[in-house]
Every structure is written in C-alpha cells, then in structure tokens.
C-alpha cells in the first residue's frame, strides 16, 4: 500500500514484529503493548491540550487586532480633524489590512474549534479501543496457544496503532495550522505597531515603504470611500462633536 496508509502501517507492523521476535512469551508482549498504548494516550492528550492553548493564543491575537482596528479608526478621525488627510489615509489603509486579516483569523479560529471537537471525539474513540485491547489481551492469554496468540496480537495491536497514528497526524496538522496563523497575525500586528500615530507630527507627510505597500494591498477604493465618509461626518458637525485626541488637546488650525 502506497501513500499515507503505507507509511503508517509499515511503522506499526515493524514495531509489533520486533516485539514478537524479542519475546518468547506472548503474554509479556501483550502486557507491554497495552502499557505502551496507555503511555502514548498521554501524549495524545498533551497534544490536544497544546492545540487548545494555541487556539487561545490566536483568540488573544484576534482581540488585539480588533483593538488595532478601533485605534486606527480613531487615529484617522484625529488626523482629519487636524487637516492631515495624508495621515488619515495611511491609518485607514492599515485599518483595511487589519480588518481583512481579522476576518480570516476569525474564520480559521472557528475551523480550529471544529477540529478540536473532532480530536476530542477521536481521543475518546482511541480510549475505547485501548480498553478493548486490554480485555482482548486477557482473552488471548487465557485461550490461545503461543502461535495463535501471536497472530491475534498483531491484528489487535495494529488496530489500536493505526487509530493512534491517525490521531497523532490530525494533531500535528492542527498544530501546523495554528503556527501559520499565529505568524500571519503577528506580522499584521507588527505592521500596526510600526504605524502607530502616537505623535501625529512625527510621521511627516512623505510615504514610506510600508505606506506604499499598504496602499497596494488594500486597494484605494475602499480607503477613498471611507475617507470621504469620515470627512463628511466630521465636517458636518459644528465643531462640538470633534473627537478628542488620546494624548493632549488638538492644536488649533485645520
């Protein structure tokens, strides 16, 4: 058998036959096999716990990104009220990128949640199989001759082994996926941090590389629309509704 099936079953069969070769006494092999299964089940549990931890980290990243979106929006409004359309545009471009990333992150988090449920269900299934193996090994010990027992052991142990490897692979996949997501979300966070307008005057009017890149990614249309809307909102008030700056008072002018 080629592919996935081939790789997996070869590994178990090699392990089981090594065990059977080493041991003259099938009941020893059976007990050892069971003990090994119980040990490996602990690894599986730990693996699932790691996936849960990674998911929680992603959820934290998601709420950080949400905060970024709010912050960049506020900054854009502040920039407009100071007459700095260039800065407002830069903030909105970053906001668009953060929003896009947030959406994809949230989708992936719900996918991961579904996977986590599946992993937990499969872990339960594996526990049942190990329990079955435990019962079966006592029957084999009691009822079969050494030669017959060896065949029965292989069958039963391979059944458990396959289930175990399958779950191991599923956990690995889920972990790989969260790593990729974490890296992407982290990159967007850094971008946001790099563009923090703590001091509006410091950023200057010139576009840096990040700005140019952002403008390309986010596509101008959405930013233009939002900018126009914000300007209309802020301009329509008679000054009383002007947003407060986070730090200090707005300078006169604009």
């Amino acid at each position: 058998m080629a592919g996935l099936g081939g790789r997996m079953s070869t590994v178990f069969k090699a392990k089981i036959s090594r065990l059977l070769d080493k041991s003259e006494d099938p009941s020893e092999t059976l007990d050892y096999g069971y003990q090994k299964q119980v040990e490996l089940l602990q690894n599986v549990k730990k693996g699932i716990a790691d996936v849960v931890t990674s998911k929680k980290r992603l959820q934290m990243q998601s709420s950080k990104l949400e905060q970024s979106v709010v912050k960049l929006d506020t900054q854009a409004r502040q920039a407009i009220s100071q007459g700095r359309e260039d800065l407002a545009r830069a903030a909105l471009e970053r906001k668009t990128v953060a929003q896009t990333e947030l959406q994809s992150l949230d989708t992936q988090i719900s996918e991961l949640e579904a996977q986590q449920e599946q992993l937990t269900a499969n872990e339960k299934k594996l526990r049942t199989k190990i329990e079955t193996f435990r019962t079966k090994k006592e029957v084999i010990k009691a009822q079969y001759s050494a030669a017959e027992a060896q065949v029965k052991i292989s069958e039963a142990a391979n059944g458990v082994g396959e289930e175990m490897a399958d779950l191991g692979l599923a956990i690995q996949r889920a972990e790989d996926k969260t790593e990729q997501m974490k890296a992407r979300a982290g990159a967007v966070e850094e971008l946001e941090a790099a563009g923090t307008f703590d001091d509006l005057t410091q950023l200057g009017g010139g576009q840096d590389d990040i700005d140019r890149e952002l403008a390309q990614i986010s596509g101008g249309a959405q930013v233009d629309d939002e900018l126009a809307k914000m300007k209309a909102e802020l301009g329509s008030g008679d000054g009383g509704e002007a947003p407060q700056l986070e730090q200090g008072e707005p300078k006169a002018g604009a």
Partner: protein, 92 residues
C-alpha cells in the same frame, strides 16, 4: 474492505467497491500528475462520496486494520501531490 478517512475514522465497504475506488484513485493520480487541481478535487469528492454512501462506520470497540487509508478530507493539493503518486493509495 475497510477504509479509513484520516482524522475521521474507519468504514466497512462492500468488497465490490474496491474496484471503483481503485479506478478513482488511479484517475486522481493522473490528475495530480497533470497538475489538474480542479480535476483532482472532483475525483477526490467522488472518493469521499463513495465511502459516505456505501460505508458503515466501525464500532468503537472494533480493532481492525484498514485496507486503505485516505488522506484527510481537507487535503491540500500540495499534500495530494505527495500522496497520489505511482500506483496511488491503492496498489493495482
């Protein structure tokens, strides 16, 4: 025959299905070889569908080895390029 879908579990299928599954498997290999992702997706969903239609899930306390192990449902095309090669998942 017993088919496992990676990450989902094992299903018992009538032996007659082996031929049909093998045929789909071979066609999936040639789709992958021709870099035809759409073609592969179509064949892959037919394989899954065959298991869903004809297969009965094994009981939790059955200890059986699978005749064939299919990759996870959400297998990427890049992953498929590693799995669906040569004689495919099912040797001819």
């Amino acid at each position: 025959m017993i088919v496992r879908i990676a990450g989902e579990g094992q299903f018992r299928l009538p032996d007659e299905d082996a031929e049909r599954l093998n045929e789909l498997d071979n066609r999936a290999v040639s789709a992958v070889e021709q870099d035809d992702e759409a073609g592969f997706r179509e064949l892959w969903s037919q394989m899954l569908e065959l298991v869903a239609t004809d297969g009965h899930a094994l009981e939790e306390d059955e200890l059986e080895e699978s005749t064939v192990i299919l990759p996870p449902r959400d297998v990427t095309f890049a992953e498929a390029q590693g799995e669906f090669t040569g004689e495919g998942l099912i040797p001819d």
